[in-house]
């Protein structure tokens, strides 16, 4: 099937098998390997991206379903060569160790802050429920997101 998707501001058109997931499409066709696959079954959140601004687990969306949509992946978070305030905050607060869950965490953080610019610790933890991190114990991820929210507000 033919699809046209705008990813990180760039338009792409491909003829793809209907069964290909969006995660697979991003990784294999577009070589955007920052979107990770940790479970392929909506369990872990490593594959989280934004579709038309909303956080979505891309392993559970078919690429054809995203036809005509605007997708943002981790590679599109920063403007130019710098880092987005959320990315900066993760670095500042050691919100990552192995880095595998990190792209999904950053995208989910974007959603949390968009929905609630001033989230409490409990709200952040609630918003992170769909994303596993096996390295950090979440402590520093929560701190990173609190800090990012403050930065974005000011």
């Amino acid at each position: 099937m033919k699809i046209s998707i705008k990813v990180n501001g760039v338009s792409h058109s491909h003829d793809i098998e209907p069964r290909i997931s969006l995660a697979q499409y991003l990784r294999e066709e577009l070589q955007l390997t920052g979107t990770h696959i940790g479970c392929d079954t909506s369990g872990c959140g490593s594959c989280t991206i934004l579709i038309d601004g909303d956080a979505v687990k891309s392993c559970t969306v078919l690429a054809v379903q995203a036809d005509g949509c605007e997708v943002t992946t981790i590679e599109g978070m920063a403007n130019g060569s710098g880092m987005h305030p959320i990315q900066e905050a993760f670095k500042e607060h050691h919100g990552l160790q192995c880095g595998f869950c990190t792209p999904g965490m950053v995208m989910t953080a974007a959603e949390i802050i968009k929905a609630n610019p001033n989230p409490t610790e409990a709200e952040i933890r609630d918003g992170l429920k769909g994303n596993f991190c096996r390295c950090t114990g979440y402590h520093n991820i929560v701190k990173s997101i609190q800090h990012a929210a403050e930065q974005i507000q000011s």
């Binding site: 098998e17 069964r19 290909i20 990784r27 294999e28 070589q31 955007l32 390997t33 920052g34 979107t35 990770h36 696959i37 940790g38 479970c39 392929d40 079954t41 369990g43 872990c44 490593s46 992946t73 981790i74 590679e75 978070m77 920063a78 880092m83 990315q87 993760f90 670095k91 500042e92 050691h94 990552l96 160790q97 192995c98 880095g99 595998f100 869950c101 990190t102 792209p103 950053v106 610790e121 409990a122 952040i124 933890r125 609630d126 992170l128 429920k129 994303n131 596993f132 991190c133 096996r134 390295c135 950090t136 114990g137 979440y138 402590h139 520093n140 991820i141 929560v142």
Partner: protein
């Protein structure tokens, strides 16, 4: 202290990970690469009657299909540690085939490998392979595996034992002490089976270059050199110098990526067969079914106390599952990494541990974060708390009564345990004092009493755990005598470039630990140069001379020490060059802030100038070789022994049995700290895993050997809302026997935390007469305990 050591320097590796530019194995796409999918057994125990691959071979995109009947059938992956039976009989070591031949021994064992142009085609074709099985009864419980009528995992032996083992004092002596004790506390429990669950699934790509007759294996491993050695010398019989193993970014390991797996060897073999690169990446179901699991000990133990609560002895009998085959380090886990920690932090005079390690129809069990030490700590810290509860002694007080007194390993000797080891240095009571202070223990007890009486349906409990662990396993000669088939030293090369920039090659491997930052901190300080002038390289056998990799919290204690040894050689040679240039004697020079100075003068020469001279040796000491590049092997003289206190506060819902972890206080002592931010991160992550074991996680096999917890819907990994913010502090008792004074921080969190949480829940319910609950402490189990 230098400019960088001890400071929370932000990580260099973060930018690439945060921008999605990490290079994990599955991210690589090689020219002409094929994809592999496995046909795996749905049965735990079965005879393979036939395998028909003809339809699969016809399928679209298929390049090849392999079964054990093809050449790879003769190969098996080895075990790296030998523990013989108590009676001297050699450990039973079955062949662990790359593909199952006549018999299946666990669910998920691979029967055929399908290689195709795309992953979808490989998976489609794998469905077309027809395997005819004759299912047989299975046994998955380690104790049942030793019963007379248990189905045999390997028919060539009369029972399922892989080996048995004991350690400590004479059993009769310990039994006599228990018989004469004022009070004996007994426990019987299962230290349940866990799945490590690194979020990056295992991934391997082998690329065979026909013209050079060389392989490159890209693999998500914690120890590339060890994989190369095992793969070449013990599996495929290919020359080691023809294989390059690359392990770029790895998405967490926790032990599960130490081992040499069948899939790793198979892709290597297939890439030569077909002359094209082959990739295999596990999906999450395969990870649950085939990554080595952790724990799974059935424990029966007794601890004896005198009137005052002093421990008189401990005796434990355990059945520890090995799984269907012996994984790389499996035999070491319930033995040398477990029994040797039975002293804990207490002066217990008599100790005996007896272990039976059976094969079971499950995936192999091996080291998982802590490996044997969490199991030892869980038993000790639960049984001492249970003893205190039964005797009406406060949980903190009973620990203070039994602690080994402080010793620094320099002015006071190391502490000789009853179980082979000599502790390096420790001040156990200091961490407990600090932990209690952080918590506000006295006030907490009052609050608890109030909560019990106020009837809001919530019960408060506090649990203490004062743990010790052994890291940086060594020396090689000792571990060799104990059955290790590898040395456990580390290699560190320091190459000073002509411009004075420094490349460091370490055999340690980072899969989240931040070596690129931490190692650069102490190297820059030791040389008195900017951190930006230091680059840390790891994870490529063609760059790094040799190495043993990262596990057992060994990177800094062993790997860091090897680098320090090389730096010492650099400075020694550099001083010769400096003395020549400054026309002074070496004895008159001192090195600081990146330059050699003639003592008491302002005559000096910088590190950069000496480096350049070493590579442009025109005006140069006679007889001295050019260049400034040294490699060192460091084999430690002892383990290191981090310790600490973990305290959990829980609230239990009386109606539902749900446990809410309210606070977690940790005061750890990991020796000297290079980067406190990273140490705290390691502690946080370890605690989350330990809490996971206490409250949430369990691999469950049914009585047919089917795994019924093989997905994220069924296996409860801790989520962000299962955990509180973690309150950390530390004491510092340097390790006396390594140059950095470090002990290791990777596993401490996972070792100390589990019993703290369980102790807290039992404490919350103690007024109801509850003295134990089986892990994980699900609401159902807690609720049931309250009803009885």
């Amino acid at each position: 202290m230098g400019a960088f050591v001890g400071k929370p320097i932000k990580r260099r590796e973060d930018a690439r990970f945060l921008k999605g530019a990490g290079k994990y194995t599955d991210d690589l796409k090689l020219h002409g690469m094929t994809q592999l999918a496995f046909v795996r057994s749905p049965f735990a125990h079965a005879k393979i009657l036939s395998v028909d691959t003809s339809k699969a071979l016809q399928a679209k995109g298929v390049v090849a299909v392999y079964t054990a009947a093809d050449g790879c059938g003769e190969f098996g992956v080895p075990c790296g540690w030998q523990v013989d039976f108590k009676n001297g009989e050699t450990m039973r070591e079955p062949v662990h085939p790359l593909l199952a031949k006549d018999k299946i021994r666990h669910v998920g064992e691979a029967v055929a490998a399908v290689v195709a142009e795309t992953l979808e085609e490989a998976r489609d074709a794998a469905e077309l392979v027809e395997v005819d099985y004759d299912p047989l009864p299975a046994v998955t419980d380690p104790e049942k595996a030793m019963s007379k009528d248990a189905p045999l995992v390997h028919d060539q032996w009369e029972d399922n034992a892989a080996f048995d083992w004991c350690i400590g004092n004479d059993r009769a002596e310990v039994e006599a002490a228990l018989a004469g004790a004022h009070h004996v506390t007994e426990m019987e429990f299962r230290n349940q089976r866990l799945a490590p669950n690194a979020i990056e699934p295992r991934s391997y790509i082998s690329d065979y270059d026909v013209n050079a007759d060389k392989w490159t294996l890209y693999t998500s491993t914690q120890n590339p050199h060890l994989i190369r050695l095992l793969l070449c010398a013990f599996v495929l019989g290919i020359p080691e110098h023809k294989v390059r193993v690359v392990s770029h970014d790895v998405g967490g390991g926790f032990g599960s990526k130490i081992y040499h797996y069948t899939e790793e060897a198979l892709v290597t073999w297939i890439s030569r067969e077909i002359g094209r690169p082959v990739k295999w990446t596990a999906d999450r179901s395969e990870a649950f079914l085939t990554d080595a699991h952790g724990r799974d000990h059935m424990v029966r133990a007794k601890m004896g106390f005198d009137k005052e609560g002093k421990i008189l002895g401990i005796l434990s009998d355990e059945y520890c599952a090995m799984g269907a085959y012996l994984s790389t380090f499996a035999p070491a886990v319930p033995t040398y990494l477990h029994g040797t920690l039975f002293q804990g932090v207490y002066t217990t005079p008599l100790i005996h541990l007896n272990v039976t390690a059976p094969f079971t129809h499950t995936v192999p069990v091996d080291a998982y974060r802590g490996a044997g030490r969490p199991e030892a700590t869980y038993l000790l810290e639960r049984i001492i708390s249970k003893g205190a509860q039964e005797m009406g002694i406060d949980a903190a007080e009973i620990r203070f009564k039994n602690f080994i007194p402080p010793f620094d390993g320099v002015n006071q000797e190391g502490y000789q345990t009853q179980v082979a080891l000599q502790y390096d240095s420790g001040n156990y009571e200091a961490t407990l004092k600090r932990g209690l202070e952080m918590l506000g223990y006295e006030d907490f007890r009052k609050e608890q009493e109030k909560a019990r009486n106020n009837g809001n349906g919530k019960l408060l409990g506090v649990g203490i755990s004062t743990y010790i662990e052994g890291c940086g396993i060594a020396p090689s000669a000792v571990v060799g005598a104990l059955g290790a088939r590898a040395g456990l030293y580390e290699v560190g090369q320091v190459r000073v470039q002509p411009t004075g920039k420094v490349s460091v090659y370490t055999g340690a491997h980072s899969h989240g630990q931040g070596h690129e930052t931490v190692f650069a901190q102490f190297v820059a300080d030791a040389l008195g140069i900017p951190m930006d002038d230091v680059e840390i390289e790891h994870g490529d056998t063609e760059q790094v001379a040799f190495g043993m990799g990262t596990y057992g919290s060994r990177s800094l204690a062993v790997g860091g020490s090897a680098i320090i040894k090389s730096i010492e050689k650099i400075l020694e040679k550099g001083a010769k060059i400096a003395a020549h240039k400054l026309e002074a004697s070496e004895a008159d020079l001192e090195y600081a802030d990146g330059k050699w100075t003639v003592k008491g003068t302002d005559k000096s020469i910088s590190f950069g100038d000496v480096s350049l001279t070493a590579y442009v040796p025109h005006d140069y000491p006679e007889g001295l070789e050019p260049g400034l590049d040294f490699s060192s092997f460091y084999d430690p003289t002892n383990f290191t022994y981090p310790f600490g206190t973990h305290i959990a506060v829980v609230e239990v819902d009386k109606e539902t049995g749900k446990v809410d972890l309210k606070r977690f206080v940790a005061c750890d002592d990991v020796g000297n700290v290079m980067n406190p931010m990273i140490v705290d991160g390691q502690i946080h992550g370890g605690i989350a895993q330990g809490v996971g074991q206490a409250l949430l996680e369990e691999v469950i096999y049914d009585d047919q050997g089917q795994m019924i917890s093989g997905s994220y819907m069924d296996y409860a990994l801790p989520r962000a809302d299962d955990l509180p913010m973690i309150e950390t502090d530390r004491t510092v008792t340097p390790c006396p026997h390594n140059p950095l004074g470090v002990k290791g921080a990777g596993e401490a969190g996972a070792i100390g935390s589990t019993p703290a949480v369980v102790n807290a829940v039992v404490d919350a319910l103690s007024h109801l007469g509850v003295t134990d609950i089986q892990m994980p402490l699900t609401p159902q189990r807690v609720w049931k305990a309250m009803q009885n």
